[in-house]
């Protein structure tokens, strides 16, 4: 489902060092899923390519997006990153996640030099429509029958028929964020737990950094240490 942003570009002020193209509209749409039950939905706003291409040309520059409710209130500052280590041909979709509150927001994209000076600013006004109501859960589906017949036997239950673990539980228990900063550089990425003290992540996330910080979503108390060998034997193919 795609919602159209009604209001468009408001202003663009920029320094001579960075030419900034202004896009007329942005498409705003809800994220495909949220993990934490009861949490506010978020809205993904694709940032136009100029921010990504500018960052690719100036690897030491930094960019962020400042989101402010039009009627006043707490503002949110989100960093923008580009996947510089593998070149500009394929980059991560630059997406800003807004709180799910419908209403009007002002979004300022700021590009900064390494020293902190803002070299370019672009402003937009985003009007977010209310999220559509969540679909009601469908009634339980009948289980496959295994009654004997005179024909071909029904197939055995596949993995998809098993009760899938909730994505929220997987996210809270097993997915981590990975960050590092050093010498004015840094990156943010994700990873997942493969042993009590071991995390797999992408090499490009930690390219240039060796000491990182790993975070889990807030949840219950830390579990006691496991045996890596037992985990390997129990869960790995």
């Amino acid at each position: 489902m795609r919602l159209r942003v009604v209001a468009a570009l408001v202003a663009c002020g920029c320094a001579p060092t960075a030419a900034i193209a202004a896009g007329p509209v942005l498409d705003v749409r809800p994220m495909t899923a949220e993990l934490d039950e009861g949490s506010s939905p978020v809205t993904a706003v694709p940032v136009r390519a100029w921010a990504v291409s500018t960052l690719a040309r100036h690897p030491r520059w930094r960019a962020d997006v400042v989101l402010s409710p039009a009627g006043g209130g707490r503002r949110v500052v989100l960093p923008l990153t580009a996947m510089r280590d593998v070149g500009p041909a394929v980059l991560f979709a630059q997406t800003v996640l807004l709180p799910g509150k419908p209403g009007t927001w002002r979004a300022r994209v700021r590009l900064r030099r390494p020293g902190g000076a803002v070299v370019a600013v672009q402003e937009r006004v985003l009007r977010i429509a209310p999220s559509p109501p969540r679909p009601q859960p469908s009634p339980p589906q009948p289980q496959p029958s295994y009654a004997p017949s005179y024909g071909v036997l029904p197939p055995p239950p596949s993995a998809s028929l098993k009760k899938a673990p909730p994505l929220g539980a997987i996210g809270r228990r097993s997915v981590v964020s990975v960050d590092w900063t050093a010498g004015g550089r840094g990156a943010h990425g994700s990873g997942f737990i493969v042993a009590p003290r071991l995390v797999v992540t992408a090499a490009h996330v930690v390219a240039g950094g060796r000491v990182v910080r790993v975070r889990r979503p807030a949840c219950g108390a830390a579990s006691p240490a496991w045996s890596s060998a037992a985990i390997l034997g129990a869960t790995w193919p």
């Binding site: 070149g87 630059q94 737990i193 090499a203 496991w226």
Partner: protein, 154 residues
Amino acid sequence: MRRGIPGVVVRRDPRRDLALIATSRPLGGRPLSIVRARSSRAVAVLGFPFARPVTATRASIVRARASLSVGTATFAGILELDAELGAGTSGGPVVDPSGAVVGMVLAGALGSPESYAIDLGSVAGRLRGWVAAEGAAQQAGGAPGPGSTKTLAT
């Protein structure tokens, strides 16, 4: 979100875009298993786009590709997904309906529902070796020190 636990990168494989981090203390989470992906199978991508709360995006595996060239880098063993992912999802797991990991997020096309993951089923043996070796080192009490990262030749 917790404040975080320090970790050190102890293994890297640039060709597969894989890295293994050893943390200074247990994370208190639940390790995920890794299985081989089935084509045209529904999956979910988990990660922390823009350091926001952990997020899941439903997707399907469109096809398996032998390699993907991105700029000057070429990665082997790729799963193509039909999801648009936010920056910061790199390294996040691609899980199948049973909750097992089939891939790890590599990259996404800008502004389109197209993204790529490393097929972890094809490197499960290597990962198992990494985890066994580093897990044994941790149980022996050896904390990874500076300069101890092992990088595979590509």
